[in-house]
């Protein structure tokens, strides 16, 4: 009996191959905490989005009421607009600067190892550090940025204290912080481009700029698309630096979706509503991923 079960299990095929039953034993130690902590909590989070829940009492099912309210909430609209705005500032910023820095470091000129380290370094410190340093750097009166702008006769910019600038102030800090990821991915991509291509282009008389636009950028397309997608996903979740730098202000001008979720959920205590808003954000992230997948597939075919 046991023997026959064994033989039968051995005979099971999946995708034309023998099934390795031991795989489940390898997966289980990771899968169990993953299911219990991440999946269960996420499912409960979705459930909460359909309830009114103030922690003390049990959640009360309210159907789509939270979503309906979120759709009509001018601050939700603002949070989503700001978040997209962050994406449109930070993502191109990182893509362009990251690519330029990667191309520079990739030349292998003296001190390139040092340059590479410095470009990546901000990526390793926490959002708290970034936030606190940049609040100080962007200080309207005493910050170094305005000080140097003043040197060129540019009047000081209220980077984080005015509604028209706060989002850009936070974006600057975020670009500085987050550039490392795109930069390194570009660098890895550049290494795959054969040097010979540049050499022959040089012989054909193409200058540096022409080489960049005719060789580098076309060949880096897949990397660029990956960096842009990853960075959009990361930027849509922008939170800690907003909290530390501006707390979403002034007048919600730098408030991101997650910051609104944090304020409504954790500070004010409307958990159902906050969950519903974050679920909407999840849908937006999902949409970006799907669109990117689709675009890549189009190009392949």
């Amino acid at each position: 009996m046991v023997e026959s079960l064994r033989t039968r299990m051995r005979a099971v095929r999946w995708k034309g191959k023998r099934v390795h039953w031991s795989a489940y034993a390898f997966l289980l130690p990771f899968l169990v905490p993953f299911l219990i902590i991440i999946v269960a909590a996420a499912v409960f989070g979705v459930y909460v989005a359909f309830t009114d829940w103030g922690i003390i009492a049990k959640p009360i099912w309210v159907g789509f009421q939270n979503f309906a309210e979120a759709m009509g909430d001018q601050y939700v609209a603002k949070a989503f607009r700001n978040t997209v705005h962050y994406g449109l500032v930070i993502v191109p910023g990182i893509a362009v600067l990251g690519l330029m820095f990667a191309m520079y470091v990739n030349q292998g000129w003296p001190l390139s190892g040092f340059s590479r380290a410095m470009f990546f370094a901000p990526n390793v410190v926490s959002a708290t550090v970034i936030g606190l340093i940049w609040v100080w750097i962007l200080d309207t009166q005493y910050g170094i940025i305005n000080n140097y702008l003043g040197f060129f006769g540019i009047p000081s910019v209220p980077w984080i204290t005015s509604t028209s600038w706060a989002l850009y102030g936070v974006s600057m800090a975020s670009i500085w912080w987050d550039l490392g990821l795109g930069f390194v991915l570009f660098l890895a991509g550049l290494q795959e481009i054969p040097r010979e291509l540049y050499e022959s282009a040089q012989i054909a008389g193409a200058n540096g700029v022409q080489q960049a636009f005719r060789i580098t950028i076309p060949l880096l397309r897949p990397t660029i698309s990956m960096v842009v997608t990853l960075q959009f996903i990361a930027t849509f979740r922008i939170f800690s630096q907003v909290l530390v730098m501006t707390d979403g202000g002034p007048a919600s001008s730098s408030m991101s979706v997650i910051h609104y979720v944090y304020t409504e959920g954790i500070v004010i205590g409307r958990l159902g509503y906050a969950s519903a808003v974050s679920f909407l954000l999840f849908l937006m992230i999902l949409a970006v991923t799907v669109v990117q997948r689709f675009l890549i597939r189009e190009r392949h075919s």
Partner: protein, 457 residues
């Protein structure tokens, strides 16, 4: 109806608390939220006292927190051989509510806490988060007749707990202007004659404001920020002085006298745009005033120690009369509340500790912050001479008679709080301060939500 609701909620808590306690025993985590040694240490050698450790939560993180630490240390010294100790945990204001509710819902609440200023009292009372204190106070002979009537009134939520007290008042606070005396001297103003009304306030502010070459304010005569706490609490006070009321006395009508509210919004805006005595470009008001970036800053008594330690040359005066209706200012009460426990046996030790803290709140209400709600403390001959100099502390004591703009005792009190950085009112008014929304529209939005809140009780 509401009361029954509260009772059943409390029972629900009890049951879920018991379930949670069972789970804890099984999980046996190395640490628990309240690490009471009572059970664990009962097996010790005979003669050794078992110690109950009361956990006290506090959101006080300004310079008042340090005095609170000393106050609690005094308690611990006095109770070292009496088997009770208090452990204070600093829980930041922003997470206080969530953490407290999560702890209470699972039967692991702290024993007591300084509570939240932003009007969660009614909600906590209804949901059985806080423990009604009348009987407990009687048990330990806490002399309630020594408390001012208004302080006790602020610890009650008639709609949800009858005449029960839900916290023991510890100190009464008001918002008063602190003024940088170096700036006063520099501007040649008379330090014995602080501004009393709108005209003199603006005159002083203009005299002290500094501008850069392009005419931009670089040092505010009146300290403001572009949004969040400062402009909103300013509006809350000025609008009240002009005759606006967030809610009528009978708690039925929202936004009484809306024109006055709108006028007050225009008054705040004029500080930035017309009189040019305030800059919107301040990120951290506390730090900025401490560093001399502003001349007049209305704030609470919790800042005094910090600025004294920093060597700031400042005094405090009574909030001027800006509106025509009254000279009222913001009121806030600090009180210690008790949180629902699975083991109700802990209540006795907790209320006894609170009584001790109240009886010995002289330190807290002279050096720490605010004014004592206890008549016997305020009438002590050394009450004026203890703690920081009277010229920085006096206005907070003498100004109490004007401190009337407090919480609205309903469930959604939070929406009405004027001293906060994150609530419905702030969200609605912030766009006004930066010129993105008209005062009229903001007033309509306030009215709509506040009326709904009042209707819900």
């Amino acid at each position: 109806m509401s009361k029954e609701h509260g009772m059943s909620r409390r029972e629900f808590l009890k049951v879920s608390g018991m379930a949670a306690a069972g789970a804890t025993l099984m999980a046996a985590g190395p640490q628990r939220l309240h690490a009471s040694g009572s059970k664990e240490e009962s097996g010790h050698a005979p003669g050794q006292m078992r110690t109950t450790e009361l956990v006290h939560w506090s959101p006080n993180s300004a310079s008042d927190g340090e005095v609170e630490d000393r106050w609690i240390a005094l308690f611990n010294d006095a109770h070292r051989d009496k088997g009770v100790q208090i452990r204070k945990e600093l829980v930041p204001y922003e997470q206080y509510r969530t953490k407290l509710l999560a702890a209470v819902a699972t039967g692991k609440a702290p024993d007591m806490g300084f509570g939240l200023p932003a009007g969660k009292g009614a909600l906590f009372a209804r949901d059985g988060v806080t423990v009604p204190l009348n009987d407990l106070a009687r048990q330990v002979d806490l002399d309630l007749s020594d408390f001012t009537e208004s302080s006790l009134k602020n610890a009650r939520y008639p709609n949800y707990g009858g005449d029960e007290l839900f916290s023991i008042p510890m100190d009464l606070m008001s918002l008063q202007p602190e003024i940088n005396m170096d700036h006063v001297a520099e501007a040649g103003l008379d330090p014995s004659n602080f501004p009393q009304d709108n005209a003199s306030l603006l005159e002083w502010a203009k005299a002290m404001t500094q501008y850069d070459s392009s005419g931009k304010v670089i040092r505010s005569g009146i300290m403001q920020t572009a949004s969040a706490v400062q402009p909103n609490v300013t509006w809350g006070i000025v609008s009240h002085q002009m005759g606006f009321r967030r809610a009528s006395d009978d708690l039925r009508t929202a936004c009484v006298n809306p024109e006055a509210g709108i006028r007050a919004m225009e008054w705040v805006l004029a500080l930035f745009d017309e009189h040019k005595v305030s800059s919107r470009e301040v990120t951290d008001r506390y730090k900025a005033f401490g560093n001399g970036q502003g001349s007049i800053f209305w704030t609470g008594p919790w800042t005094i120690n910090g600025y004294l330690q920093q060597g700031l040359n400042f005094e405090t005066f009574l909030f001027p009369q800006i509106g025509e209706d009254n000279r009222d200012t913001y009121f806030e009460m600090g009180g210690i509340e008790m949180y629902t426990q699975t083991d109700t046996g802990r209540y006795e030790a907790t209320i006894a500790a609170i009584k001790w803290l109240s009886d010995n709140s002289f330190l807290w209400t002279t050096e720490g912050r605010g004014v004592s709600p206890r008549k016997s403390i305020v009438s002590r001959p050394d009450y004026r001479t203890a703690g920081p100099p009277w010229k920085v502390r006096g206005a907070f004591v003498e100004g109490m008679e004007h401190a009337k703009i407090g919480e609205i005792p309903i469930l959604a009190a939070d929406d009405f709080t004027i001293y906060t950085g994150d609530n419905f009112m702030v969200k609605t008014l912030d766009p006004v301060w930066v010129g993105e929304k008209s005062p009229q529209v903001a007033m309509e939005e306030l009215h709509e939500r506040w009326q709904k809140d009042l209707d819900e009780g």
